[in-house]
């Protein structure tokens, strides 16, 4: 087997539904790019179907959803299900934005792997992704 070539992590950032609040996702996109990751942004007004299809087509490692308009309890579980159905359940699914503490357990159960809410430090998010990516690559190489 060839030695795996080390490549940067690819992440798809997306906004679901009619939520047009983009300050958070803009900050995250800049921080991840600065940390050497490949960032693809879907643009606004996406359905879970559109995001799942883009994640598969772009062959990303991580899908990150920014949500600030209270639609998360419906559209995040739906996206997690669609990713699994598309055979892309191994992609890391992240969410960030205005998500009440009380909703986290249900979202985790539905397949969201990690949730960063208001006040999350971008350095903490970068460190988390780097850690996950190192482990994932090691697991893939094994």
């Amino acid at each position: 087997m060839d030695t795996p070539v080390e490549r940067p992590l690819r992440i798809l950032l997306a906004k679901l539904g009619m939520d047009t609040h983009t300050v958070g996702v803009t900050i995250i996109a800049h921080a991840l790019r600065e940390a050497g990751m490949e960032v693809i942004f879907t643009g606004l007004k996406q359905t879970p179907e559109m995001v799942a299809a883009a994640a598969v087509q772009e062959d990303v490692d991580v899908v990150g959803i920014s949500t600030l308009s209270a639609g998360h309890m419906r559209n995040l579980p739906k996206l997690a299900r669609l990713l699994r159905e598309a055979g892309a359940g191994d992609k890391l699914l992240l969410a960030g934005g205005v998500i009440p503490q009380e909703d986290k357990a249900l979202l985790t159960e539905a397949g969201v792997h990690k949730i960063f809410t208001m006040g999350a430090d971008t350095r903490e998010i970068v460190a988390y992704l780097r850690g996950w990516w190192t482990e994932r690559q090691a697991a893939d190489a094994a």
Partner: protein
Amino acid sequence: MTKLSGPIRAANDNLADDLARWEAETRGPFLSSHPERRDPFVTQALGWPIKPLYTPADLEAVGFDYRTDLGFPGEYPYTRSTKPNGHRSQFWTMTQVTGFGKGQAWAKRARYMLDQGLSGLILEYDLATTNGYDSDDPMVEGEVGRAGMALDSLEDLEAAFDLPFDRLKYLMSVCNAPQPVNLAMIIAALEKKGVDPRDFVLHIVNGILIEYTCVGRYIYPPEHGLRIAADCIEYIIRNHPNWAPLSIIAAQLQPAKANPVQEIAFSLAIACAYIDATLARGLTIDEVAPYMNHFVVNVDMDFFEGICKLRAFRKCWARLMKERYGATSADALKIRLMTSPTTIALTLQQPLNNIARLGIMATACALGGALKAIERGYFQSALGREQYERNRDLEEGRRKWVGVNHLTLPEEKREIEIFRLDDAMEEEQVAKVRALRARRDQPAVDAALDKVREAARNGGNLVPVCLDAVRLYATHGELCAAMRDVFGTHAPDAQLAGV
């Protein structure tokens, strides 16, 4: 006994010379043993340097003239106030935003707010409505009734307007991109309730240009967006002269990280676009300007800059109207300011601090402004790099924010009841609009929608044809789609430059 009043030293004729002496003899030696805490001291929003002391010499240096540069309250250029007696004759008006769930839920909340003493309300719609979709459109699944009231047809407004209109005298409606549809629906609902439009003020925000600039709830390309906004303005001026057809929401620029100078400049430029489009309909500036002078402005924690911003707004508006447009009537020269504390300054962490923050911001509003609305729950869109840099300043401690990066209490527990919308609401709303479509006079609706397409194509005013269609229970989403057939949609890529 020694007399304590009077100058200790003989006054110099030239204050600037005295100041230089003070610096050399008094402040200078003090500084050598007491260095300043910060280098440099700058204003919060603009980063302008702050001197340790200001005297009349500073005004003299810039050639300040009290009469022309400041003037008296209630007189041109209205810097200090558009009213001659400040708040001593009457207080500012207070309004609040509300909107969630179905029409019935809004009516119930609105009645409660009227019972608490409000006489005006601001109605917000959900994101399905403001983006031009009906509740059963697959694009908006999960968002029905969440960020505001769901509005699909005249039925929903009939339910929402189950109100004592003898007490509700002012309603502001926030539905920018689909404005002619929304205006028509409200007119039809008021007719059904038997409300005399002369005895009630409907204020439509009609703020499509700010949506393109930094909010994102647009549907059609900007040229068509401005045209339909002008249709609504013209319709109101000609048919309901006591109503208000526009607000310039400068408050959206501030959380998008525009500084106060950009905020005033951009929002006046936006006002000019509306004015020019309306003047082209054959009205004069003295007729038009009193309908274009309502600005909603946020005040942040930068207390003095917030006050100065409101004063600058009044002066800039008066001069713009007089010098660029040749306005002469006092009503044209006076801006109307609605101000609110920015929600961007508030934190989820250690939320009791928000009380002090709101107190400081509301005080700046009162000192600088005239009208005040609390809790505009808006957000904004990308001014990419700058937003990232501001965030880095916080993360790396160059800016302090209590509870976020300063004096944080990680162990603090918060027990706040979160507002939850009943999940069944969306299904009920979807069923309601589908049932409506099944029972109405479909051929008549189709013909009315064709009339809307025709007006969109040939440039006729869209409000009357929308009014005919909503009376037949054509839905909000159908009417928005009919215009989309002609105008096309605004490519969202433009939004994303900053990401």
